[in-house]
Amino acid sequence: MHLKQTGQNLIEVIIALALFLLFAAGFLTLGSRYLNTAQKSRDLREVQLINQESFEALQSVAYRDWSLISDGTYGLDESGSQWTLQGTPDIIEDKYTRTILIESVYRDDNCNIVTSGGNSDLDTKKVTVQLAWNVGGAANSQTASRHFTNWKNPSACGLTENVQEVLSCGGYTSEDLPDEIIANLIAADEAGLLSCLTEDVDGNLQLPADSALMIAGDSNITIDGNINAHPSSTLVLGVHTSVTVTGNLNNDGFIAFGDGTSLSGNLNNAGKVWFLGEASVEGNGNLKQVFILENGDVSFGGNLDFSEQMVMEIDSALNVQGNLSCAQTATAALDPTAVITVVGDTNCDALP
């Protein structure tokens, strides 16, 4: 028998090698993907913990001061021994960029959340935490949202019947008045010191500590004497109300003038005064902090002096028949559209 065994030649070996490399590359790719998936899974676990921490930090801020949870884009900061919102996103572990988005929430008349229409609920905010990071040059991001509520101190859908009645008496809804005023109405209600004035008062009117008084809307009320209000009290003039004070209004707490209100006599206030629309004060104004809100149109028949701060929002106007003056340390924040007219002299460095 003649046997001829040629064996493998080099070409066959190279082909076998190529096949092996193909399989090896497949295994390596598989292994690499497995590792990538494991890394992504690890990142997501970290993201979950960061989200948890972010919402807890925001809860701490909300409990401290609900008004800080206002619409906008923020980051978180813990450098001052407490969590605070900062104006720009923050970086965590040199890897994750955290962006906090706070948005208003709207509810219908039945207090159900709606995505369009409805009224802004001052007691509810939608908070979204977005985390963005890179893995091997690829951008990743995760977002998580929660509704935060001011459940301890509600001012809108959670208002008590008393507060709603008093607001209605003044011709307001909770959205018409500044948050600080609403908070004081709620506190006064809890203290049993919230009421609405619908009749003339013969003599001085006293507002005790922590009380809040609404003067009925669409009314002409005469106080035959002075209004003396405690610094922790709140006075709100209802919409389209004309109040005649034969003496002076001495209020060192909060006072809000609704649209279409007028006050005879002088206004002396060492707290905060808000003007929500068109309002007039027949006499002088000796004030501390003055806020003329959007489209507000305020006139003083006498002089006006403020000692600390004046804010005039968009399209607001101030008319002073006498002199306008302010303290040396007073500040003013005026929208470019705000207009001040002074018949007498102006002596206030804070004003342009």
């Binding site: 028998m1 003649h2 046997l3 001829k4 065994q5 040629t6 064996g7 030649n9 080099l10 070996v13 190279i14 090698l17 092996f20 490399l21 090896a24 295994f27 390596l28 292994g31 497995y34 590792l35 494991a38 690890r42 676990r45 970290e46 913990l49 948890q52 921490e53 807890e56 930090a57 809860q59 701490s60 801020v61 409990y63 401290r64 001061d65 813990e78 001052g80 021994s81 407490q82 969590w83 572990e93």
Partner: protein, 179 residues
């Protein structure tokens, strides 16, 4: 029987041996790498699981707590965190040292534990991981009681092997509702 067997030339033989050696080396390397990756992932998982378990438990208990106990040790490692509850025993989180044996090596590790009232403390981390940082910071400021917890855990790895090495650091915050 006459056999004619030309076989390989010397050059072909050398190339063949070289190729076989390269293939074997690649095979062993791939296998070894897969085994090491598997070990590494197991170590990472052990560390991450321990961290998540501890922090989730603290966050859960913190939300139900009435207050942070005055005995809480802030700003140093190892810290102590104590939550007060209105109708159940306090819960204390702290660390303790334990000596374990890995192969022939004795290793001291730090473990996190939780104790409810006077009950015996329960371990929250296994003998496979070592707690390297447990720091509690008071972030209450002028607001509600708020604590931040920083936690670092590493896999027990007395030989310093890269495959068995894993560590991670996390933080969480707990705001006391005081309900």
């Amino acid at each position: 029987m006459i056999m004619k067997r030309p076989g390989f030339t010397l050059i072909e033989f050398i190339i063949y041996i070289g190729i076989v050696a390269a293939v074997l080396t690649a095979s062993v390397t791939i296998t070894w790498r897969l085994i090491n990756d598997q070990i590494k992932l197991a170590a990472i998982d052990a560390v991450d699981y321990a961290g998540s378990f501890v922090l989730n438990d603290m966050a859960y208990q913190g939300k139900r707590a009435a207050s942070v106990n005055a005995g809480t040790v802030f700003d140093i490692h190892p810290g102590t965190l104590i939550f007060d509850f209105p109708a159940q025993p306090d819960i204390t989180y702290d660390t303790y040292q334990k000596q374990i044996t890995v192969g022939d090596t004795m290793v001291n590790i730090s473990k996190l534990r939780r104790q409810a009232g006077t009950d015996p403390p329960e371990d929250m981390t296994s003998d496979g991981v070592n707690v390297t940082n447990f720091l509690v910071t008071d972030l209450s400021g002028s607001g509600p009681e708020t604590v931040k917890i920083n936690l670092s855990i590493e896999a027990v790895n007395p030989g310093g092997s890269r495959a068995y090495s894993a560590e991670n650091t996390w933080s969480t915050t707990v705001t006391i509702r005081g309900l």
